[in-house]
């Protein structure tokens, strides 16, 4: 008993020495996992170096993980109680992560004044059940990418597109190598009037005739031998780089490679309007976000959020924009200089935010199956969309444990 008292006394005395001193900052170490590569990785490293210079007590370790392993790796580690402090990933991971309680809500860390500088749609997208579960770094969507030496006048609607493509395709040069992946072509489904979910997050893809119209449109493109319609990213990509595709659908991440291969011949513009309804192409708009691990303590969380605030500051996002073509979430970043990014920004205006609810995971494969089976003449558009509706809803019910 005496010993304990003595120890307490000593501790009290020692601690009194430090009262009034400025607290020496504790060394903090943060880990960030991402799948950035190339120019974006360079910007990340520069930003980390800059941040560590400003805050010498902080060490930041970054780990690059292959994109298709990142979600799984994080899920496995975080579920076992570990994982990095910060994760960089697309907003559509939020639903599952939040449901499994792997990421921390961030509402308390960002005030209204701070949020005022960010694109409202992006901030809106990262909210799950009313809480902010991530912070947006950049936005992405697909648009028309064209080779200026093969395309002089851009088509206004899909009818003009067909005429134009028919005049360009010759030999092994194609007017349009159309990616029929659902992510890439979803813009025409929404332009045709299709909706994914109702207010209860149940599937409604077969409501109305939007899905049928869009599938019929794709089927018509595919039956035109002057088009290549394939769910094949690599093919569209390679052909465009080799100058054998005049137009493709792709996102800002690809532009760097294209300008390396083709120089200033690369142009970006919104996709042509869907002629049948007169509606513009409405691609998914998704954000790349910073997530904070739910397993870490409050001090770590605070440090992680401080670093995130730095990463989304005007200066850092400006660098991401200039060097890696990231379309910034920060409205203060000056984007006027860049015509290519301008094309994506223009397209984004008619886009729809990618739903982040876990139900979205049930949509991809059934919709792809609908597209593939129509293109392969295995199903009529109406039947294909009905099948997709049933499968999506079954998957949703199963994931809800019904």
């Amino acid at each position: 008993m005496k010993k304990v008292l003595l120890v307490l006394l000593v501790v009290a005395m020692l601690s009194s020495f430090f009262v009034g001193c400025k607290p020496k900052p504790q060394p903090v170490s943060l880990t960030i996992w991402h799948s950035w590569s190339g120019a974006e990785l360079d910007v990340l490293n520069e930003a980390i170096a800059e941040y560590q210079k400003q805050h010498p007590e902080i060490t930041i370790n970054q780990l690059q993980v292959p994109f298709d392993q990142l979600q799984n790796k994080y899920q496995t580690e975080a579920a076992a109680g570990g994982g990095p402090d910060i994760l960089v990933g697309p907003a559509d991971w939020i639903g599952n992560f939040a449901k499994a309680n792997l990421i921390a809500p961030l509402d308390s860390y960002f005030d209204a004044a701070f949020l005022a500088d960010y694109v409202p749609g992006a901030i809106e997208q990262v909210k799950f059940n009313g809480s902010m579960m991530a912070f947006p770094q950049s936005t992405e969507c697909v648009a028309l990418i064209y080779n200026k030496s093969l395309v002089q006048n851009l088509p206004k609607d899909t009818n003009e597109l067909v005429t134009l493509v028919d005049s360009i395709t010759q030999g092994d040069t194609y007017g349009f190598v159309y990616n029929s992946g659902f992510y890439f072509t979803a813009g025409y489904f929404f332009a045709a009037g299709m909706k994914l979910f109702d207010a209860n997050s149940d599937a409604i893809v077969s409501q109305g005739d939007g899905g049928v119209k869009a599938l019929t449109f794709l089927k018509n493109l595919a039956s035109d031998p002057k088009f290549i319609v394939a769910n094949d990213y690599g093919k569209a990509d390679s052909m465009f780089k080799e100058g054998k595709a005049a137009m493709i659908i792709n996102g800002p991440w690809a532009v760097g490679d294209y300008t390396n291969a083709l120089g200033d011949k690369v142009g970006v513009a919104p996709m042509p309007v869907f002629a049948e309804t007169g509606n513009p192409f409405a691609p998914f708009v998704n954000t790349k976000d910073f997530f904070v691990n739910a397993n870490i303590n409050d001090t770590q969380k605070k440090a992680a959020v401080d670093f995130i605030k730095f990463m989304v500051s005007k200066d850092v996002e400006q660098k991401f924009f200039e060097k890696a073509k990231h379309i910034p979430s920060n409205v203060k970043v000056d984007t006027s200089s860049d015509l290519i990014v301008g094309g994506f920004l223009e397209q984004m205006k008619t886009g729809v935010p990618m739903p982040i609810i876990p139900e979205m995971g049930a949509v991809w494969d059934p919709m792809q199956t609908a597209i593939d089976s129509v293109l392969a003449s295995k199903a009529m558009p109406q039947d294909a969309i009905n099948t997709a509706q049933t499968t999506i809803q079954d998957k949703i019910n199963a994931s809800r444990g019904q």
């Binding site: 590569s37 690059q64 292959p66 076992a80 080799e242």
Partner: protein, 285 residues
């Protein structure tokens, strides 16, 4: 004279047949070579040429200089890790399998057939849902985030094949040799170490090679378990080159070849063992 001509004709026919298969075996590899020389990173070259326009070796240089883009781990370090993991896997699986195979080959004991099947059975459960429990067990053993953890996990995948192959070979070693050793006063362990093992070098070499290849090529468990770039392996960093959308295909192809070359060299060196040491079952003799 006539017999000689007949043999020549037969050989000509056999050469044609074999060369046909060699062309098929080599074609995809040549495609990788062509991809690795292409300066514009295309996955699907639209024309068939072995040496593409403006061919260059820059992809090889880039890969050797910076194999893991995000962190300056030298190529030699990755190579060392890969050799360590592959060698460790091979060594551990041979060591574990040799004794077990000896028991299966030489003793008749209750549960022998079941046991042999049980080892094979572990290969039959598709590991789709077991990654998380494996993660937990390796974490509990404190080897999850290390090369040792990989070695043990990979070895558990190689051991069943190793046991089968070694048992098959031990079966072909005449029992009389061992019995002679036993008569001379050796015990079972000595007979195993001094008679059976030295006679089984070809099979041990092949088993080693199989374990080595398992450890050399695997990336999926490695990417799930490791978090320190200093521990990464070549196969992991090769896989890492595939981006969500963009992959530097030329570098990917160059790296693929760099990774495959050591394996091919080992193959070539072990050629004579591979043929005589791969005896999954008993060849009577």
């Amino acid at each position: 004279m006539k017999k000689e001509i007949k043999e020549k004709l037969k050989h000509l026919y056999l050469h044609t047949y074999i060369i046909f298969w060699i062309i098929i075996a080599l074609f995809p590899v040549l495609w990788i070579v062509s991809m690795s020389l292409n300066p514009i990173n295309v996955l699907k070259p639209t024309t068939l040429t072995l040496i593409p326009k403006n061919a260059s070796l820059s992809a090889y240089v880039k890969v050797l200089q910076r194999p893991y883009e995000a962190y300056p781990v030298p190529f030699v370090q990755l190579l060392f890790n890969s050799l360590f993991v592959a060698g460790g896997t091979a060594f551990l699986s041979v060591a574990l399998a040799a004794t077990a195979a000896y028991a299966f080959s030489r003793f008749s004991f209750p549960g022998r057939n079941i046991g042999l099947i049980l080892f094979l059975v572990t290969q039959m459960l598709p590991a789709t849902a077991t990654l998380a429990p494996l993660f937990v067990i390796l974490t509990l053993l404190h080897i999850r985030n290390s090369l040792w953890g990989l070695i043990i996990a990979y070895a558990s995948g190689s051991v069943p094949f190793a046991i089968w192959n070694l048992k098959g070979y031990f079966d072909t070693v005449p029992k009389e040799l061992e019995e002679a050793a036993l008569v001379d006063g050796c015990d079972r362990n000595q007979a195993f170490l001094k008679v059976i093992l030295p006679l089984s070098v070809p099979a041990l070499a092949v088993t080693f090679l199989f374990g080595f290849m398992n450890g050399w090529m695997e990336w999926m468990l490695a990417w799930t378990f490791l978090t320190k770039p200093q521990n990464f392996t070549l196969a992991m960093t090769l896989y890492n080159m595939q981006g969500q959308w963009n992959t530097p295909w030329s570098q990917f192809a160059a790296f693929s070849l760099i990774i495959s070359v050591p394996v091919m060299v080992v193959w070539f060196l072990l050629q004579k063992y591979i043929v005589s040491g791969l005896t999954l079952g008993a060849v009577k003799g």
